[in-house]
Amino acid sequence: MLKMNNNNTQPLEYSTEQGRMNILGFWIFIGAEIMLFGTLFASYFTLETRTGSGPAGAEIFELPPVLAETLLLLTSSFIIGLGIHAMRLGRKKAMMTFFIITLILGAAFLGFEIYEFIHYVHEGASLQTSAFTSILLTTLGTHGLHVTFGLAWGIVILIQVIKRGLTPQTANKSFIFSLYWHFLDVVWIFIFSFIYLKGMM
């Protein structure tokens, strides 16, 4: 049951009780995701030096693609923020344009990440090489999987917005998707800082 609280000062995505609860529920999910990535980082720091006969981080990390990935994700996070801003102004076309740019940047990010994984395997650093390479690829892969899922999710939401327009429901879904996307950027910042930069320091 949808209960309208007829509060016109609130943005569309908060306009129903259900919508407000969906947003709150998603924040609780984000709290759980923070802990998930916490465990991955804990394992990474533990296994970082266990390189066996395989390469260490400093030998395989390359700054240019990593920096490109960082800038792509930072920019996409900013652009989707503009998308939500446009949505709140009721500018459907502008919002959709921003969302499409976000998804394109996300796809470019994935392209770089796939290149990176291929590069690692060529350097002899696969999932089975050492404790270090397996936790490295697991951590990066978990984030990459989230981005891949986000791309599919974003496309489906865009189709709904095209078909149904900006309703309390589609606005709510778009807003929740933007939360997810910003969160992926936050996780990447930690990967960039504590896996790559720390490894190359």
Partner: protein, 94 residues
């Protein structure tokens, strides 16, 4: 067109680029491990706070307190997990 690019968001984006630049200094300059880690910790958490408050609008709804409690809880458990693991497995205090 201008209304689509609110100054607050543009400033936030520029600030996040600056934070990334500062974090990069640990790669380009020779510094101690302690100094480098301090810079990375400060820039990463500042960056996360910026996203959370500015772009994710964490404080805008009436559920603000529940939202912050949930996020802080997640962060505290994550930090305890990481530091506790380091304490037992790396630093060798247990």
């Amino acid at each position: 067109m201008k209304e689509l690019f609110p100054a607050k968001h543009v400033m936030g984006f520029i600030f996040s680029l600056v934070l990334t630049g500062v974090a990069l200094s640990v790669y380009f300059f020779d510094m101690s491990f302690f100094m480098g880690m301090t810079i990375l910790l400060v820039t990463a958490f500042a960056q996360a706070a910026l996203q959370l408050v500015l772009f994710m609008h964490a404080g805008e709804s009436e559920d603000k307190n529940t939202i912050y409690t949930s996020v802080y809880y997640g962060i505290i458990i994550a930090v305890i997990t990481v530091l506790g693991t380091m304490l037992a497995m790396i630093w060798g205090y247990v």
